[in-house]
Amino acid sequence: MKWVGSNLDLVWELIVAHVGLSVPPIIIGFLLSIPLGWVANRFRISRGVILLVLGLLYTIPSLPLFIFMPLILGTNQLSSANVVVGLTIYAIALMVRSSADGLASVDDDILQAASAMGYSAWQRFWRVELPLSGPVLLAGLRVVSASTVSLATIGSVIGVTSLGYLFINGFQRNIPAEVITGIVATLLVAVVFDLLLVLLGRVLLPWNARDRTSSRQARRQAVLLAEGVS
């Protein structure tokens, strides 16, 4: 606690940097995963190709991926873009299956009913399919958020500032309290993100709030999916 007390400014600065690194990948990953998930559901071939490519991208360990980035993007080796783009790739890889599953989870009867009532395909997607995938999308996004916040620490190894700095600096100067602060702060950021997402879900998906079982089911499914056992 003593270490934290005398380094509050540094910790706060790092938290801000960490949030800055992790928010864009979460949002961009989410937005891109929806059209990709839709395409994955549409055709058998596109599903196979998309899931295979994303699965392989996800298999690339993060440190090497960050190291490859300057070669692909033409960025400076110390640029934070390397980490942001790398994390975005992971976010997409993790999120697309949730998006595909979410869109596929919508009851076909409901889609038929919507068409029968006179929703055009476009209206049906935005007003019926997408909102009804909400719970599954949200569950997937929570996993992506936790994952991204945790992975952003690795950026520090290649010189991109994040809360991971506390691990590196703590190791070099042999201060366990600093490392612990880094771990706790990372978890804290992840928890705050998670709460915000849950809150967002309450606001945007009021119809689902009363159905605890389906939310829990979606959460379970997303966690298992991310563990590779779904």
């Binding site: 009867d109 009913a113 068409s115 009532m117 009804l132 909400g134 998906l205 119809w207 009363r210």
Partner: protein, 270 residues
Amino acid sequence: MIEFRSVTKQFPDGTVAVKSFDLVIPPRKTTVLVGSSGCGKTTLLRMINRMIDPTSGSILIDGEDTSTLAPVKLRRRIGYVMQNSGLLPHRKVIDNVATVPILNGVPKKEARAHALDLLDTVGLDRSLADKYPRQLSGGQQQRVGVARGLAADPNILLMDEPFGAVDPIVRAELQQETIRLQDGLGKTVVFVTHDIDEAFLLGHQVVILQKGGHIAQVGTPAEILANPADDFVASFVGADKGKRVLRIERVDGQDVVVDENGTPTGVLRP
């Protein structure tokens, strides 16, 4: 009036669901398409609002060929009620009922007010308006489905086995409700079922279908019972099993109606 003119539907996988089908569905009456699964009855129904397009032939609504109409617009002026209600789970009951008018451009407030009236029409308490569909019982959901089908005040109402998934008691209730509604509203109702009793109960005109949309017989329930066209119809309506062959026995000065096995089914009153 809805007219099928030598309509054929072959699905991409090769199955011919309906083959040169002709039928005239009279206005302001209930026509029931009845048959076992695979007879093409749902395909026929869904071709009316162009959820499915025929491979050949044409379907006319009041003399207008539906293939010349935009499907989405067409659907918005035809009511549709399906099994499992097909309600949107993320919309409150009231918004589910108001969906089609709002799609048609009716102001939200007006559409909701009208939706409340419709809840009365289908016999639902107004207090249910702010609930979500899954908070309702199966029978209630089905009533909401009917209200939604009626919301745009369509001339035509398509009902695809709407009471197939509810228990027999609720089902009987909903059937009576449908009769009452139809007496008051006088819509052109096309109703699909596999239950011959339901068909006879609800239908002014009953169409008995065989595989491939082949019409075994068309007529009023009385006509069909009196003169089954062939053995298939006779067996389908149960005429050969004795359930429908009743006779009168005199018991204690009363005319008791009994079926072929001698099981009493009712009393004849003058």
